[in-house]
């Protein structure tokens, strides 16, 4: 066994978690499904981790809906979220379902958690890109209370987010989406099983004249955090969605910076991103029209 932390805590309240995190600082790690930490440990990237803090005994495994939106507890597994009744019959949630279906295999979906997908803060993951497209907020518990931050501001860099000392994630809050909203997620990976080379999450709302309001476009896998394609959003905002406006939005991506990987250099990723973005905008707009006509 390569991973030998010295202690394993199973606290029962959020306050206890904060105390443990404050006490052990950078040597402590939260574990929920345990898939990310163990893979890092096997690669020799978790040597400083000495204290493991499990969330299993804290009731953070839930999906519930209220007037604010959809609350997803950080220890909710990906399989839980896929099966949650609260996401049914809501076309704006299709963006999440598409991302969850792309996370393979089922052995990982059964244990990996929504909090882990977010707090690992790795741009190769799929759920964050989808969550970003629907303006997800992250609710954080710290030693002095709770705070809420947009996921877009939460993610800072590879393996880096804005969690401070003693803080951990309580839940993701997906706000109720605008009326007539359509959203879609697409991914391109080398194999069905692999991390993404590029993924895309798009949300838009079309009015009766097919004019686009409030677009969100995020691309994962290209940068150190999922990249918000603001120039593409600007091309769509206030425009009628048709072949021409979609082409303008795709071209607006321009020569954006893309991190090369062994399976795809920057130019290849830029090409992929354009194709994914075109298809993803198209799919989201079709969904929006279906919703508008209901």
């Amino acid at each position: 066994m390569v991973f030998k932390p010295s202690d394993y805590f199973q606290p029962t309240t959020p306050e206890e978690v904060c105390e443990l995190l404050s006490k052990y600082g950078k040597h402590a790690r939260i574990v929920a499904g345990g898939t990310a930490i163990y893979e890092l440990a096997k690669r020799g990237l978790a040597d400083e981790v000495k204290e493991i803090i499990s969330l299993r005994k804290i009731p953070l495994r839930y999906v519930r809906r209220d007037e604010e939106g959809l609350h997803v507890g950080s220890a909710t597994t990906l399989a839980d979220l896929m099966a949650a009744e609260q996401t049914r019959n809501d076309p704006s949630m299709l963006v999440l379902m598409e991302a969850l279906h792309e996370i393979r295999p089922m052995q990982v979906r059964a244990v990996a958690t929504v909090g882990g997908e977010i707090c690992t803060s790795l741009p190769l993951l799929d759920l964050p890109t989808a969550l970003l497209a629907v303006d997800t907020e992250v609710v954080i518990q710290g030693p002095t209370g709770r705070r809420t931050i947009l996921l877009e501001e939460f993610l800072v860099d590879f393996f880096l987010n804005t969690l401070g000392k003693g803080e951990f994630m309580i839940e993701a809050l997906i706000p109720t989406q605008p009326a007539h909203c359509g959203a879609a997620f697409m991914k391109f990976g080398r194999t069905a099983y692999d991390f993404n080379l590029v993924n895309a999450g798009v949300r838009l709302a079309l009015d009766a004249k097919r004019v686009c309001m409030d677009p969100r476009i995020f691309l994962g896998g290209v940068g150190r955090v999922p990249f918000r394609a603001a120039s593409s959003e600007n091309e769509l905002r206030g425009s009628e969605i048709d072949g021409q406006s979609i082409s303008r939005a795709v071209e607006a991506l321009g020569q954006f910076k893309a991190l090369p990987q062994i399976h795809g250099d920057a130019e290849y990723k830029r090409d992929l991103a354009k194709v994914l973005l075109r298809d993803c905008i198209k799919r989201a707009s079709e969904r929006s029209l279906v919703v508008s006509s209901q």
């Binding site: 066994m1 991973f3 030998k4 932390p5 010295s6 202690d7 394993y8 199973q10 574990v31 345990g34 898939t35 163990y38 893979e39 096997k42 493991i52 499990s54 299993r56 399989a79 393979r104 295999p105 089922m106 052995q107 990982v108 059964a110 244990v111 069905a192 099983y193």
Partner: protein, 156 residues
């Protein structure tokens, strides 16, 4: 730090003294002596260690054993009832869904998880369920066929 951890595996209860990050695959093989669960890549890539936790297929190689307290674990040894193999197991034998056999316990567990939840999967759903299990010798045709025809041999 070694604690007593209470596990339930194949319907039996075990009280084990385990270190902080004792992995379920190590405990199953080395402490319980159930060697049907295999070690392959040992970090969530090959599926040889797949077991059931409350009916869901999981990788035992990356699951801390103590996180399974309060859950029911089923290994390949726990599928048969009174010496009778399940429909999935019989189908693998009849269809020769294995060659060296190393990946077979994990694949049978994955197939069982699928078929218990979804007794009539589509071809794509079968392939999807196999995404987390690698086989290096038969290729997947006979494995796929074994799962596709499992229902003919009895419940999963």
């Amino acid at each position: 730090m070694n604690d007593i951890v209470l596990l339930r595996v194949n319907g039996k209860r075990y009280d084990l003294k385990l270190g902080p990050y004792a992995l379920l695959s190590d405990v199953i093989r080395d402490d319980l002596g159930l060697k049907g669960t295999k070690r392959g890549c040992d970090f969530g890539g090959c599926g040889a260690c797949t077991v059931l936790m409350d009916g869901h297929a999981i990788y035992a190689c990356m699951m801390p054993a103590r996180e399974t307290e309060g859950h029911e674990i089923t290994t390949i040894e726990g599928l048969e009832a009174n010496g009778k193999l399940t429909g999935v197991q019989q189908s693998f034998i009849k269809n020769m869904g294995f060659q060296c056999g190393y990946c077979t316990p994990g694949i049978i567990i994955s197939a069982t998880a699928l078929l218990r939840r979804n007794p009539h999967p589509t071809d794509d759903e079968i392939r999807e369920a196999l995404a987390g299990n690698l086989c290096r010798c038969t290729g997947y045709t006979s494995i796929f066929k074994s799962i596709k025809e499992a229902a003919e041999f009895g419940p999963p």
